[in-house]
Symmetry: C2
Subunit: 420 residues, 2 copies
């Protein structure tokens, strides 16, 4: 059989390094010309496949592809769009086969988190169940670090480095100001259910008394009295209190503290605002002057302070995905396996998509300190290597020089529309 084309797409919230995985897929595919023809990227994830909106990546230069490695965001567009089940939404899968068939697509690479791996898993079933021959490989990506099997998820290490760096820097500010001004600083960190990024803030504290002094994790229900007493103690001991709060911190009733009522396309509650909430509480109950920060997208797109380790992971899973596909492995996802903490060693193993899809890996109990406001030594050992190394992008005129692709559409071969 001659070379067949490949489909690659990005899905879910993007990150500082998902384009490094894209870079790896494209560079590696170009090494297997006997097996892989062109790589067509889906414009805006799986939507690009359903709407036959494909991007011809062969029209991008080698230099442009290489520059993806230092460019944040999702170069081909991402989406929050989940395929239905094969049984109930058979039309979606028949449409995919129609498009794939029209463009001779024999390889499917889907780069994303838990929901996206569910999509990859479902697409992998069309071979056996609908008779369309295709090799499907998921590529892990999530700043939430909540994918199972893989030791960590590309995208997370860079967020971890950003938040730990940021809280350390802000703490230097608070230390300078605390005598006559701000004594409490609250940093809101992404993470609806899993507290990995919030936990990573603790890496900034290397000695007793260093910030952050308190973590509010989504895995630990918020207890106002215990929290305020902890804040009070930090103020007495250190003259300041620096707090990292997960956007998804939950009250005693298990509901998001900051529940705004609005929902995203997946039906998830849309959060944001835990930091102002916590800050107001402290101001009202303890009377201290507080400041808060919500970096939001800044944390997951901060390619300028990406972790070199994370970047290497992101590239490695992209390359491994193509190698798995060439080896005929389908329905799998490259996963990172940790071989040792120190020196940090890792390799890539194969995880079945059936075991990855729709799983959510929370902070294990032995990573959370006894009082629930911090992390254990085990958590620190796990987190520490993931932020190591700086992978600065090139700068031009004082700003990071990121690339924008041409993203030229592949001429359509079908005359049909498909309602999303």
């Amino acid at each position: 059989m001659g070379a067949r084309n490949a489909f690659y797409a990005q899905s879910g919230g993007v990150s500082a390094v998902i384009n490094a995985s894209a870079c790896a897929v494209l560079q590696t595919a170009r090494q297997y010309t006997a097996q892989i023809g062109k790589v067509y990227a889906g414009r805006d994830g799986i939507i690009g496949a359903l709407s036959e909106d494909l991007i011809d990546t062969s029209l991008e230069s080698e230099a442009t592809i290489a520059a993806l490695k230092h460019t944040p965001g999702g170069a081909f567009g991402s989406c929050r769009y989940k395929l239905g089940s094969l049984h109930e939404h058979r039309a979606q899968y028949e449409r995919l086969i129609e498009v794939f068939s029209a463009h001779d697509i024999g390889f499917f690479f889907y780069n994303g988190g838990g929901d996206s791996q569910d999509t990859a898993y479902k697409v992998s079933q069309i071979g056996a169940q609908l008779g369309y021959p295709i090799v499907c490989v998921g590529i892990p990506k999530t700043i939430d670090n909540d994918l199972p099997i893989t030791d960590c998820s590309p995208g997370f290490g860079s967020v971890a480095k950003y938040v730990a760096t940021s809280i350390r820097e802000a703490a230097f500010d608070v230390t300078a100001m605390s005598r006559t001004s701000t004594k409490v600083f609250v940093l809101e960190v992404m993470g609806r259910h899993a507290g990995w990024a919030t936990a990573a803030c603790a890496l900034a504290a290397e000695r007793e008394g260093e910030a952050p002094h308190i973590l509010l994790l989504p895995e630990v229900l918020f207890d106002e009295a215990r929290f305020l007493s902890k804040v009070q103690r930090a103020l007495e001991q250190y003259g300041q209190c620096v707090i990292a709060v997960a956007e998804g911190v939950k009250g005693p009733d298990g509901e998001f503290l900051s529940a705004s009522g609005s929902k995203d396309a997946f039906g998830h509650a849309q959060l944001g605002g835990a930091a102002p909430l916590i800050t107001n509480l402290i101001g009202a109950k303890l009377g201290s002057k507080c400041h808060w920060a919500v970096p939001d997208y800044l944390q997951r797109s901060a390619r300028h302070i990406a972790s070199e380790t994370d970047l290497q992971h992101a590239y490695a899973v992209g390359r491994a995905a193509v190698e798995f596909a060439i080896a005929g492995r389908s329905g799998v996802m490259p996963a990172i396996r940790r071989l040792s903490d120190e020196p940090y060693c890792w390799d890539i193993i194969e995880a079945p998509l059936s075991d990855v899809a729709n799983q959510e890996k929370l902070l294990p109990p032995d990573f959370i300190s006894a009082d629930g406001f911090g992390i254990t030594a085990a958590a620190r050992r796990y987190l520490a290597p993931l932020i190591v190394g700086e992978a600065y992008p090139p700068f031009r005129n004082g700003l990071p020089d990121y690339v924008k692709l041409r993203n030229v559409a592949v001429p359509k071969r079908l005359n049909t529309e498909f309602a999303l």
Copy 2:
């Protein structure tokens, strides 16, 4: 006359590079041992002088002093404390003389913004009016960039680089997500009265259509209808709208927009936040999915992405302050003078503190675009050189390796308390 000791202190909100000015003062003073004995730093600004809480910087090693150059925050503590007038608060000045005299302080260096230069100016008057011989030199520092005479203020360039980098990165995220998710992103930037930092966000847009699409400056009163129509137009043209809003944006009545009376889930009055406010407005009126970020202290302490140009300015004004003092110049402040935009050339001149104190330099009208939502080419020429160059701190274990001083107190020689 033999060598006399010097007093140095940091005042007002700190920055990513105020410690570079401190580094310059200490390193330069160590070159003039015939004139300057020890440099005593005020713990928490002028408060350290009033309370005779002085830090003996001679006990810090050369390496530690050098490391100040890459450490954010205010190494000796800062304060928000303004001296009263010499006539009405004579006791404050007599106390200063008492402390200075007890420690043979003949040089006074005060590092801060407009309020702090007012303090420096007042202290400079005690020579003539109260007969205590002292050489007083102000050292400019403010992320707000609102000091007069000096072409720019150390601290600003690094904030400018941070916010322009951050909004560019977040825009890559929005671009990837905008088809099925977030279409509007709002970044809140520091600046209560002057829009310099908000204006600097516009440096991220180098080509038509690039983010940010709208600036909301404190110099331009907010007009809801015009603003929403501008957002709508950006959404139509670009499929997204990225906005930088100054924390101090004001409504048609001239009051801060963010001084709203809303309450949070705990029933407490919600702290200001121009970005959430603007975001809610867009969500309610246009129905677009929005995200917002408030980096707060992160922007002014982000030493990891400091501007090399800004760092050079900060060091140069610290060095010049000592050289002015050695030359017997008192009641002055080193100011940065721009000699040319491109190539960017500058030198240091002398500004009288009487002309600097309590002035506030806003964005000039010819820097604001005709519609009020952007900047002009003149503004871009002014801002562009200030963010050029990366001045990365050293990293250890994946995090910036910042220094903490020993800050050993000078033994007190007075037995008197002073009520602040």
